[in-house]
């Protein structure tokens, strides 16, 4: 299910109120032209799953934090910020989760210079 960035929080709130209370995963895919963030939520009563996909501009990649709706989003958001340089707004900007880059590198984006020495990666 595709959605717009500005409607993301409302869509997730709507799903939450319909019983989709379990966050399965947040991940991103770099299609080079767009950067898609995907939110997978599950209804544990009816055993149904929904995925919300937000298309982002790679040059202006940010999403609002969904932590106020799903507590489980914490580590997924930090991981996504670190691996895709998708900025998560409206949350305490804590340290990154895995590699502790300086925040500019995006290892899982397709343009990542992964054969460069570590110091030049960012």
């Amino acid at each position: 299910m595709k959605t717009e960035r500005k409607e993301l929080l409302d869509s997730l709130r709507g799903l939450y109120s319909k019983g989709y209370t379990y966050l399965v995963k947040i991940y991103a895919i770099d299609y080079v032209k767009t950067l898609n963030a995907i939110y997978v939520v599950r209804n544990l009563e009816e055993m149904k799953e929904e995925a919300l996909e937000v298309e982002l501009d790679p040059a202006d990649a940010w999403v609002p934090s969904v932590m106020r709706i799903y507590k489980a989003a914490d580590w997924y958001e930090r991981e996504m910020q670190e691996m895709f340089a998708i900025v998560i707004r409206d949350r305490d900007a804590e340290r990154l989760l895995l590699e502790k880059w300086n925040g500019t590198a995006a290892p899982l984006r397709k343009n990542f210079a992964w054969s460069e020495p570590y110091e030049k990666m960012g």
Binding site: K25, Y27, I29, Y70, K71, A72, L98, L108
Partner: protein
């Protein structure tokens, strides 16, 4: 007065390279924050640069305590992307191997956790010995001892060797007695019971909102098991019941895993009895290529640590993107919440009850 103490990254009770930073007031934990990433190898990126059948070797090193589960999860994702049917016999053999893997993984967990909880090395030695018997079986089925890999697209690398069924039945008879013995040993032990009952309680609502999975979720009273509600292979044909408890404490998580071992023993017996004859070997490696571009695939499996899911965007030669939802990652994220306001020594009881493998969390 508040004190901040650092635990790890190398510490016997953190089960790998995990660093915990705990703020304590006297003996009460105010906050404990896990720092992960010491074992981050960028598997999701590595996979994007390799052919499909070059990657299982990375997958089994994600969760090195249950390599076969991850191996199978990856192969199942590629199978979904290719739209391949899995041979009938191979489905039964996979169930047998995966359940044996689950018992081996739970035995390792039991030994190490009991060790953290003051049972010292007695139980650890016993469970390691029993786990070794299962590893020997898996070695016979795959040819490898440490990273036993027997999954290939559409089936298996090799069928079970002659006499495997009989040996497995003997091992299961033995294990059934041993699991009962462990339960009797631990549940009559006042130290173990005192350190687990009522400790690290995670209620149902919090378990769902924190997104925990596997035995941790089931110990909090949520009856969710992928083998039941998203049944793959022949689990739907077997008499399988998810094991749940409602207390949500460390003891409940221990008990769920013990019951799961018994359930796995039953499942393997039943699968061995009802296994059909026929060909189980998968397709040759050179044929492995999902034709279409940008084909989406998703596979979800109940690994010993919880529900592992892989999301794949498949290209003809290599995966375009592979996103891994690893069970340890979500369970470990819940530690901060569960360990709040408990005693310092209980942090390790709680951490042990989450059954973490750092390779799985860090990816």
């Amino acid at each position: 007065m508040n004190t901040r103490i650092n635990i790890g990254p190398v510490h016997p009770s953190t089960h790998g390279v995990l660093r915990l930073v705990a703020d304590i007031d006297g003996d009460t934990v105010l906050n404990v924050e896990p720092h992960i990433g010491f074992l981050h190898r960028g598997v999701e990126k590595l996979v994007e640069n390799r052919m499909y059948m070059q990657s299982p070797t990375y997958m089994e090193k994600l969760d090195y305590a249950a390599p076969m589960s991850y191996d199978e999860l990856y192969v199942a994702t590629v199978e979904k992307a290719m739209g391949v049917e899995i041979k009938e016999r191979a489905q039964w053999v996979r169930v047998v191997l995966l359940e044996l893997q689950r018992i081996a993984s739970h035995l390792l967990w039991l030994g190490t956790t009991a060790n953290d909880l003051g049972q010292f090395f007695t139980l650890f030695m016993w469970t390691m010995k029993d786990r070794d018997i299962i590893l020997r079986l898996l070695e016979r089925a795959s040819g490898a001892r440490m990273f036993y890999m027997n999954m290939r697209i559409g089936g298996l690398v090799q069928d079970l060797p002659p006499g495997f069924g009989e040996s497995a039945q003997e091992v299961l008879d033995y294990l059934e007695k041993r699991v009962k013995k462990y339960e009797a040993y631990l549940e009559r032990n006042p130290v173990f019971v005192g350190r687990t009952r009522g400790v690290g309680i995670l209620n149902r609502e919090d378990a769902i909102s924190l997104g925990v999975t596997g035995p941790v979720l089931r110990a909090s009273g949520v009856d969710y098991d992928t083998r039941k509600y998203n049944a793959y292979y022949v689990y739907g044909k077997l008499s399988f019941r998810p094991q749940t408890r409602s207390e949500g404490d460390v003891f409940a998580r221990y008990k769920v895993r013990m019951l799961e071992m018994g359930e796995s023993i039953r499942l393997v017996r039943e699968a061995l009895d009802r296994m059909p004859d026929g060909d189980a070997v998968g397709m040759p490696v050179r044929l492995i290529t999902p034709g279409a571009k940008n084909r989406e695939a998703r596979a979800s499996r109940e690994t010993p640590r919880g529900e592992g899911i892989m999301y794949m965007i498949a290209d003809p030669q290599k995966p375009y993107r592979l996103a891994i939802r690893s069970p340890t990652f979500v369970n470990l994220a819940a530690l901060q919440h569960i360990a709040k306001d408990c005693r310092m020594a209980d942090v390790f009881a709680i951490l042990g009850s989450l059954d973490i493998v750092m390779g799985d969390a860090d990816k």
